[in-house]
Chain length 658, copies 2
Amino acid sequence: MTATDPLVIFTPSGKRGRVAAGTTVLDAARALGVDLDSVCGGRGICSRCQVAPAFGAFPKHGVTVTEAALSPRNAVEDRYDRIRGLAPGRRLGCQAQIRGDVVLDVPPESQVHRQVVRKRAEARAISMDPATRLHYVEVAEPDMHEPSGDLQRLESALAGQWGITGATADLGTLQALQSALRSGDWKVTVAVHRDAPQPRILHVWPGYHDGAIHGLAIDVGSTTIAGHLCDLATGEVVASVGLMNPQIRFGEDLMSRVSYAMLNPGGAAELTAAVRDALDSLAAQAAAEAGIDPALILEAVIVGNPVMLHLVLGIDPTELGQAPFALATADALHLRAGELGLHLHPSARAYVLPCIAGHVGADAAAVALSESPQLSDDLMLVVDVGTNAEILLGNRTRVLACSSPTGPAFEGAQISSGQRAAPGAIERVEIDPVSKEPRFRVIGTEAWSDDPAFPPDTRITGICGSGIIEAIAEMRLAGLVDASGLIGSAEATGTDRCVPQGRTHAYRLHGDILVTQGDVRAIQLAKSALYAGARLLMDAFGTDSVDRIVLAGAFGAHISPKHAMILGMIPDCDLARVSSAGNAAGTGARIALLNLAARREVEALVRGIHKVETAIEPRFQEHFVAANAIPHATAPFPHLPRLPDVAFNLGEGRRRRR
Amino acid sequence: MTATDPLVIFTPSGKRGRVAAGTTVLDAARALGVDLDSVCGGRGICSRCQVAPAFGAFPKHGVTVTEAALSPRNAVEDRYDRIRGLAPGRRLGCQAQIRGDVVLDVPPESQVHRQVVRKRAEARAISMDPATRLHYVEVAEPDMHEPSGDLQRLESALAGQWGITGATADLGTLQALQSALRSGDWKVTVAVHRDAPQPRILHVWPGYHDGAIHGLAIDVGSTTIAGHLCDLATGEVVASVGLMNPQIRFGEDLMSRVSYAMLNPGGAAELTAAVRDALDSLAAQAAAEAGIDPALILEAVIVGNPVMLHLVLGIDPTELGQAPFALATADALHLRAGELGLHLHPSARAYVLPCIAGHVGADAAAVALSESPQLSDDLMLVVDVGTNAEILLGNRTRVLACSSPTGPAFEGAQISSGQRAAPGAIERVEIDPVSKEPRFRVIGTEAWSDDPAFPPDTRITGICGSGIIEAIAEMRLAGLVDASGLIGSAEATGTDRCVPQGRTHAYRLHGDILVTQGDVRAIQLAKSALYAGARLLMDAFGTDSVDRIVLAGAFGAHISPKHAMILGMIPDCDLARVSSAGNAAGTGARIALLNLAARREVEALVRGIHKVETAIEPRFQEHFVAANAIPHATAPFPHLPRLPDVAFNLGEGRRRRR
């Protein structure tokens, strides 16, 4: 190019260069390495390459752009505008030719690798580069004199027009290929899955396929199963669904399910059938919610703890129930979704994230991918709270991981009035330290319970995980619970909300909804396990403090950091540096769904994570016992609010009952 | 090594070299590149590395071998001998250590790449190197402190002990992995399939698996389906089965089946179900005949014409019924056998050979692999006779191929007394030129019909393909049929075996078994098509003669070259240079089953073959018409016996009936 050729400047990338007059905007973008999308390969069909030219003087760029900088709108653009509508000021990059110096903005929706915005400021954005993408191709017609297969000519077209070499196709795709090519007059849109071991053509649509294709990111928890259905072009979550893991009927925690598999012939197969059915319902529900055909779901990404993954894969989890906790496979798996009983597209693929160890699964790997402690300068503690807590500790130098059997109390199970987080559940609690009266918030209602706007007919059905944590922490702050976890009597606390219950007392939160001594004990066990796991990693890292804490988990988003710290769930930390990551495992699954490179990244990351096995570490037991009190004795808590210096005893209750 | 180290000489390879005293025979063989088998990797378990040391003076080799040349038989060999028996003079190569100069014979059964002998002198041997082989490995036990999956440790063992890297496993294999590893005490035998796209562990047996594994080579013909079940270690054919293609009820030739698929909704699926059922029965029959569990069949290799393959693959063959005869895929396919409805091992693989063109299929590719015209100095014509004839013509310089629609007459169909080659069928015919009396041979009976040893109660049920060819050729030689193909009357021929039948005559071969005028016409059509195809290739090659002819096909082995030439089925050739190859397509499938490199070879070979499309070539029609007479006019036949100069006319019959 010479200095007399037009200068083209793309925003927001700032990439610039001179191109020969007459070059299309799309070709210019490709030549300059600008991220401008195209599904149809520049044929004026897909409109993905839209750009917005800017006219006028741009002293910053040193150019003045006139209307003559681009060729006038042509017939292809007029036709496109007539049929589908082209927003004012927009041009099709494959049609508009550069004739003079020009500044062109590439709007986010025209970028292939657009960023999917994540809500939290500290979270890294997801750069779109899904394993499965659409490509429009024109395929050579068969020639009797140079015989070749339709598939081979499609493969050549993919190689020549999109640089995708070595593609293969499932038998199902091959069975439908010939009619699609002919009804599309040798122009087809193909969905190509680019992951290992080789690119694979999943579907062939005649002509240009204008619809979206989808992927499903699934986090299989012991108690809840969550799914995010995503548009594979935009990254948009078009449906989020959650359901209870039906395996709960075989046991609430992981080890009881492993025991079920060990003790009952065919038990593992029953557990597999239950969880596969649930995954398939989840997919159907997500598709229904988004209003799409499940056959348009072309890919699933699955994370979960090792026991859940083994069961989803149809592998007996017995080995995970006993030392040395050997995984059948630690590596990521590339499967057909149908092999797992998922009724998505018949050729849909399933990618299962790798596991870190026998007790630290693909869910922890997904949390690591989402929260990226390995990229952090600060020492980060990431706690994924569930029936098992996955805990990561690390920074740029190294990352450690463990899991801790917290049990289902944090998810509202094993709590007298517990329930899962759903409308009607108390999720926030405050107790006045003087009057000892509570106020609370209920899922589905904006106002607090003491607000005049609180509807008197609000259905209040129970208390969920975040509610019970806040309730007990607030009881401790209000002097209703002592450091050992005992609830005081009405006499000792001065409120008749403390009611006797057997040999112990309970705090009446609302109507029949009590916080019982058993509830406090269940939360104490869970929080001790959680804390002991975190502490064990800190010992292994050689640190007494962490810079930053991320609370994750299906319900981690709802835990109040202050209350978690009052209870001693987490180590001491500046509360301003404790954040919630929501379902980070699910987010990690979504990242792997939307970005192919993230799969290789998590596979490498997992190999580098050092695993600490809580089940055989004597220090775990020590930390666990020492962490039982509120606050507990194993660490100083400089950031903790001052707690009332009360002490109750069981005698109070006994005395009163006499 | 120094000149004082022992000299070891292996026979029959003649490989020799010095090794350090104390080296095992197996290690010496590996160091010297000698082909010595081992499944257990030198652990004294498999006995595949047996050698036979030779003692005494060997002036030819310049050594004298004493008993001290090898270490004495050790405890492992004693134990092996006690339990399984070690033939006298044999040693286990992994146990015997070399202590002095020695000559060691590697018997054929100890060679990995042993040659499978083929019956015909001119056929190249099959060198054993099957895609699926057994390997014994010792797998590291899991370590809680360095967690890894069982599969990853098995993969490491395969890489470290056998150099097989990047292996993967199906979900089914993974599901059974953990219990196999533990019940084998971390020693297992794995069947590994090494073909594209990556090595795959098909099965894991605890401990050392002493049994054989099998593969099935299948040739799917329009009329008959043939299968050879092979031992994947020895190459031995342990069962050969054949059955009629049940699709015959939808039409006898390919085009009538394509029409059925085109005209009947769901017709293609019916055809697919029929042929898949037949393949599965074939596999079950072969396993039953060999007395093995079908689950020990780990691989299938499938060849067939394009229409048959499309239907086996579940692809509508409509496109193959009309120009430009586009294949869905021309390339070879790597599938799971289960995808084709085959109930073999659940992880069994299926390899489908590539097609040459829309009318020239994987059966022709397999014939090319078996007969290897591309390696021939002579110009070879290979004719695979079936309902479609696949024809190859070529030598080292180039190979041409076409197919010709001969119809099922050569297989005994569309013949008045026709039947498939089975006990009771007349397969050989001679007619005395003076008395015009026939003698014949019947399948299942050694003696000719005029032999006193011919059992008078022999069941004679019909006439098969080779029988009708000989009968008509002999009728021509005896002056019962003229050059135009007309059968003469009793008056004209002087034998009352020529009986009137409507307006024409028939020759009474035996009892009710007649050779009718319709039979002669059917064979004339078939042979004209066959000849025209061969002639078209000769035109394209620019030759009037060929050096050598190979007759192949399920029944090709039984065709008498002389009679084929009298009929004008094949071009003129020195009869000594016309040979039968039997089911060459099935042999090609067997080669691909037993030798991995042969798959890459046939894939490359197919790309290099030039295809001639008979269906659109006007010269085909010309050759076809000109080839109708016996002998026909399109070529001189210097090697043809002198034929009687007779001429009949239809009037004879008409006159007699009046």
